[in-house]
């Protein structure tokens, strides 16, 4: 599903964000991508979505992403800040944006809008405008906008950041209900353990740990060394 070979990325100032990553994620896996702040989690997700151009080989859903510019792909990325993903005047138009660009019929678009909104528990939010929603509602609306494009892989960047307990639970439930491949970048391992079965740890742009979630959570010394806690 996702195959990465020797992936490297440099910022404007020349510092290395990713230093030769090798990774393979199979279809249907539920993966948590963990690491301390500045480890390169977000950069990796942006590369996988094709929004950053990195060196190395990068295949997502059978397509070579490394040479392709930003565009729709098998991977749906939910950003950390939902305001950046809700750019239309109303929630309904926002969620319809993806399907409409896929040239679906208006009937199909309407179906997808209502089904993705009900999947995130926001049925009837179509005429609301993003600015009036709470942080948790915005986050769920942003997820619905990505789900409406029907991605094979759902990638989320810090999905629980800035959310209260109830909103976090709602987001966790949405992820558990998603049937495809799941990729969650977070350092909140307690919440991630409810959703993911595999844990990948990166630190300073390099892969430092990869294995079943349960096993790695036992290794407290390893987690401590990379700024994480179970």
């Amino acid at each position: 599903m996702i195959a990465i070979q020797d992936l490297r990325y440099r910022y404007h100032d020349g510092s290395e964000a990713l230093r030769g990553l090798d990774l393979c994620i199979e279809e249907g896996e539920k993966v948590c991508l963990a690491g301390p702040n500045g480890a390169g989690k977000s950069t990796l997700l942006l590369c996988l979505a094709g929004l950053l151009q990195a060196e190395g080989r990068l295949r997502v859903g059978g397509h070579d992403i490394s040479r392709q510019g930003p565009g729709p792909s098998a991977l749906g990325l939910v950003f950390q800040y939902p305001d950046d993903q809700l750019f239309c005047p109303t929630i309904g138009e926002d969620i319809a944006f993806g399907p409409r660009n896929q040239r679906k019929s208006e009937q199909e678009v309407a179906d997808r809008v209502s089904s993705s909104l009900s999947a995130v528990g926001l049925s009837g939010f179509e005429p609301r405008c993003a600015h009036h929603l709470s942080g948790g509602e915005k986050k769920r609306a942003a997820i619905a906008a990505v789900l409406a494009c029907q991605p094979d892989i759902l990638a989320l960047d810090e999905p629980w950041a800035n959310l209260d307990a109830r909103a976090s639970r709602a987001v966790t439930d949405i992820m558990r209900n998603f049937s495809g491949t799941l990729l969650v970048a977070s350092h909140d391992l307690t919440r991630a353990a409810f959703v993911c079965t595999r844990l990948i740890v990166i630190d300073q742009g390099a892969l430092v740990g990869d294995g079943p979630m349960k096993d790695l959570l036992q290794d407290l010394g390893f987690l401590e060394a990379h700024g994480l806690e179970p």
């Binding site: 930003p70 792909s73 009036h132």
Partner: protein, 251 residues
């Protein structure tokens, strides 16, 4: 100046709220243009325009206080530009409070103030009875270029977020003892604005990324309109005739 301040009323329900946005836009613009071009001496015409606006306010169930308070916000500019007018214009003068004021000047002052108030009231009624996305769809349907409508839409979407960011930056500066009194201290405002620009630019980059991932091809989709109903069409024609005849025949 929160978002709710303007938007709170636009999603209420009344016969004016339900009216087709295109009709509301056309009638508002017509009323403003007619009012602005009416000579100030035709007091009766202004009374009728004000009557139409009051009547609309009543039907729209908006609180009158909200409408008037918002309309009064244009007064400071009038004061700045216009209060000097009666003193500096020549011609016939009248004594008032022991001053000699030019009659022409007084007419100009009165006309400009009344017109700006009427226009502001009409706009507030339009914006308080129509959600902004319907206004934009109306502009699009009335022939505004797609790109310009998209820009208005995006800019309106991020406006309040950036105002909040600006307010936070300013508050952070004040919390650390920023109390500007003199022009050189503007440099600190400059740093805030520079910071705000970088944040805005980076937000634009993230928004563009989000758009591309969902298949953006240069245009935002907008919702369309049902054809104008016969009842709404009749209302449009009657109101246009009424307003134009007031402008032409009432002296």
């Amino acid at each position: 100046m929160g978002h709710g301040f303007i938007d709170r009323f636009s999603r209420m329900d009344s016969c004016i709220h339900r009216l087709d946005a295109r009709i509301k836009i056309v009638l508002t613009l017509l009323l403003i243009i007619l009012a602005v071009t009416t000579p100030p001496q035709r007091l009766l015409a202004f009374v009728i325009y004000a009557g139409v606006l009051l009547w609309t306010t009543a039907f729209s169930q908006l609180p009158l206080q909200h409408v008037l308070r918002r309309a009064a916000m244009v007064l400071p500019f009038s004061a700045f530009v216009a209060l000097g007018i009666p003193f500096v214009h020549g011609g016939e003068t009248v004594p008032l409070f022991g001053l000699r004021l030019s009659v022409t000047g007084l007419w100009i002052l009165m006309g400009a103030t009344v017109k700006s108030m009427l226009a502001a009231t009409a706009l507030i009624l339009l914006m308080s009875t129509t959600p902004f996305n319907r206004i934009l769809a109306g502009f699009r349907a009335l022939g505004t270029p797609k790109i310009f409508v998209d820009l208005l839409s995006l800019s309106h979407r991020y406006l309040y977020l950036l105002i909040e960011e600006a307010t936070r930056l300013r508050r952070a500066a004040i919390a650390r003892g920023y109390a500007p009194k003199w022009l050189p201290q503007t440099l600190i405002v400059g740093r805030l604005v520079g910071n705000l620009f970088l944040r805005s630019y980076e937000r634009a980059e993230r928004v563009y990324g989000a758009m591309c991932l969902r298949g953006y091809a240069g245009y935002l989709p907008t919702s369309g309109f049902a054809p104008v109903s016969r009842r709404d069409g009749m209302l449009l024609v009657v109101m246009m005739l009424l307003l134009i005849s007031v402008r032409v025949f009432v002296h």
